[in-house]
């Protein structure tokens, strides 16, 4: 025990040193860190990524949920089985719910009766990113709004800030509610927020997002928004809608009515 003897003086010294180091770390990080955000920021050769949803081609009113099933399968999204704790990356809602500001008795009927696919809008000015107290969510240069499930403290400020209800919280451990775990994507723990990530992990392998690949009607188009691309042609040639774009969030999911 004799060599374990630490007198009061050296104990205080060590404690003080530890405290100083603790205080200095964030300050040092601020000047020196290659932040997690930039490390994961893939090069953005083509500008920003957008999704175009063609409401006329989508057969969700007939009960098709191919895209939703594919998305939730590859991302290990649990099926908790109660509305209160539902976790959704991609789902369908009525026209009124998707576009509350467009609610109008005289919107053409076929349009009004449509189900509308909704997901994270990967806003250019994302309110969720602004409010996060730990930078657990951030926007990449190519526009994808990312989530770090390991940094999220579960304060749910982002859920309050999102005008689209696109964020879900793990109210309990989701793992028992995943039918088959896909090992190519992490499962989540209780107490963190999650949402659509534009299939960032598939894009890195040169694949299209799972929902786009699963749709057999060509209702979903995904790509870089720049002259000449498919998405560019679609949204520059016809009238399109974005959800609540009057809020200044600049959502990047475009709807062709």
């Amino acid at each position: 025990m004799s060599n374990m003897n630490i007198d009061r003086r050296s104990f205080l010294k060590l404690t003080a040193l530890g405290l100083v180091a603790l205080a200095a770390k964030p300050a040092l990080d601020l000047i020196s860190k290659p932040s997690a955000a930039s490390a994961l920021n893939g090069p953005a050769p083509g500008g920003r990524l957008v999704m175009v949803v063609n409401l006329n081609a989508c057969t969700s009113p007939d009960g098709c949920i191919d895209c939703i099933a594919a998305c939730h399968r590859v991302h290990n999204v649990p099926d908790i089985g109660n509305r209160k704790e539902d976790i959704r990356w991609l789902w369908d809602v009525s026209y009124d719910q998707a576009f509350p500001d467009q609610e109008d008795r005289f919107v053409a009927e076929p349009l009004h009766d449509r189900r509308v696919l909704v997901l994270c809008n990967h806003c250019d000015n994302p309110p969720c990113v602004k409010v996060c107290p730990t930078q657990a969510t951030w926007r990449r240069d190519d526009g994808i709004v990312m989530m770090d499930y390991h940094r999220c403290i579960g304060c749910r400020y982002c859920m309050a800030a999102c005008p689209y209800g696109s964020r879900s919280f793990n109210w309990r451990d989701p793992r028992p509610y995943i039918k088959t775990v896909d090992n190519s994507y992490p499962t989540r723990t209780k107490g963190v927020v999650e949402k659509c990530n534009f299939c960032q992990e598939r894009l890195a392998e040169g694949l299209q997002p799972a929902c786009v690949e699963a749709c057999s009607n060509g209702a979903l188009t995904f790509g870089y928004l720049k002259p000449g691309t498919e998405v560019y042609k679609l949204i520059s040639s016809q009238f399109n809608l974005r959800r609540k774009d009057e809020l200044g969030t600049r959502p990047q999911v475009y709807y062709l009515p």
């Binding site: 509305r83 959704r88 009124d96 509350p100 990113v129 107290p133 749910r156 005008p163 309990r172």
Partner: protein, 384 residues
């Protein structure tokens, strides 16, 4: 001085045991929440904040209200506040701790809370709130303790105490303004998107905090043999009267703007709060109870006879406290989420576990308050 918390009569230990009992129940409930997750609460994907955040907001207000003693005492030389100034500062300490604890119990991953410090995010209002609340807590510990220590040693308080008190005035305003900004900066929630939110918060804080302090002072007079002095209570009661009137006035301003302008989404939130929406009424009785209590309290506080009578004053202060706890707690948080951005209307009912955790946190605040007030009493009684 601190040793006095271990010397008390039967009533003192009874109070301490009662508070410890509630804390133990709260802790047991919290262990459930820790184990299972926030699924044990009544929260949902549409209503993602509830009782915890409501209480957090309310107690930040109680903490900020110490300034209603500090301003008159330090800036206007209001001598009659001398005897209760330290009580106000210690009440702020307890309220600050309660507010911070409510943030902690609301987190999905509480073990990661230091990520707020490790990855400082100046763009996030929660980051700033944590910073200002922590500093305000320290300020009030120092202000109260140093002043009490000087009293104990029968010397004048150190000269640096007054500048520090002035800093605490600005700081008190900042904690509640920043807390209002958590809500008022969200374009997604029209119910909170109003520049009036910070002034509303401050006004209701300056009613609820001093109301609580009056109740505590009266209780200590009755059971603790402490005389706060009639003049100081009178003055505090007037502060409560003005503040509760301004609070109700501000609420009416919101209601006018929303219902006269007729913007559908903004109206829907207030409809839910005041009248219920689409067959969902669970908040309506609370809202009207709050309005009724506030109006009754205004009458009781404005009429000199009932303001000066200690029993009716206590009733009026209790009414103010409960009215604002509803108005600025669940009445503020829940309608922000109803209807949801997608138009969903669901209800929120706190679960028993949530309520036990909440009462546990209150009891923790009550314990801190009791211990600190005990020291004050002991120091003062030693003088007599």
């Amino acid at each position: 001085m601190i040793e006095n918390i271990l010397k008390g009569g039967k009533k003192y230990w009874l109070l301490i045991s009662g508070l410890l009992l509630f804390m133990a129940a709260g802790l047991a409930a919290y262990l459930q929440q820790w184990d299972i997750g926030l699924a044990v609460t009544g929260l949902s994907r549409d209503i993602s904040w509830g009782l915890y955040i409501a209480n957090f907001t309310f107690f930040v207000g109680v903490a900020a209200s110490a300034v209603m003693l500090v301003i008159p005492y330090y800036l206007h030389n209001t001598k009659e506040f001398r005897r209760i100034l330290i009580l106000g500062e210690f009440m702020a300490v307890a309220a600050c701790l309660v507010a911070i604890t409510f943030i902690l119990v609301d987190l999905g991953q509480p073990a990661r809370v230091f990520n707020i410090i490790l990855y400082p995010s100046p763009g996030s209002i929660i980051f700033w709130d944590v910073v200002v609340l922590t500093v305000y807590l320290l300020l009030n510990i120092v202000l109260g303790w140093v002043a009490l220590d000087a009293e104990y040693k029968e010397v004048d308080p150190p000269t640096w105490l007054k500048p520090l008190a002035i800093v605490s005035i600005v700081w008190a305003v900042s904690i509640h303004t920043v807390t209002a900004f958590i809500y008022a900066g969200l374009a997604a929630r029209l119910f909170w998107l109003t520049a009036l939110l910070a002034p509303r918060f401050l006004a209701s804080a300056f009613a609820s905090g001093p109301a609580l302090l009056i109740l505590l002072a009266l209780a200590m007079k009755k059971w603790g043999g402490f005389d706060p002095g009639n003049q100081s209570l009178d003055r505090l009661a007037k502060i409560v009267a003005y503040a509760i009137i301004i609070t109700v006035f501000f609420l009416l301003l919101e209601i006018f703007t929303v219902f006269y302008s007729q913007v559908p989404e903004a109206m829907a939130h207030f409809q839910y709060l005041l009248f219920g929406l689409d067959g969902h009424y669970s908040l309506v009785p609370w809202t009207w109870a709050s309005i009724l209590l506030a109006c009754t309290a205004i009458v009781m506080l404005v009429v000199p006879a009932s303001r000066q009578n200690r029993s009716t004053l206590a009733l009026a202060c209790a009414a103010v406290f409960i009215a604002i706890w509803i108005d600025k707690g669940l009445g503020l948080v829940i309608p922000g989420f109803i209807p949801s951005p997608l138009g969903a209307i669901s209800e929120y009912t706190p679960t028993l576990i949530e309520i036990l955790i909440t009462t546990g946190v209150w009891a923790m605040g009550g314990l801190v308050l009791t211990l600190l007030f005990k020291v004050v009493l002991a120091v003062r009684q030693g003088k007599q």
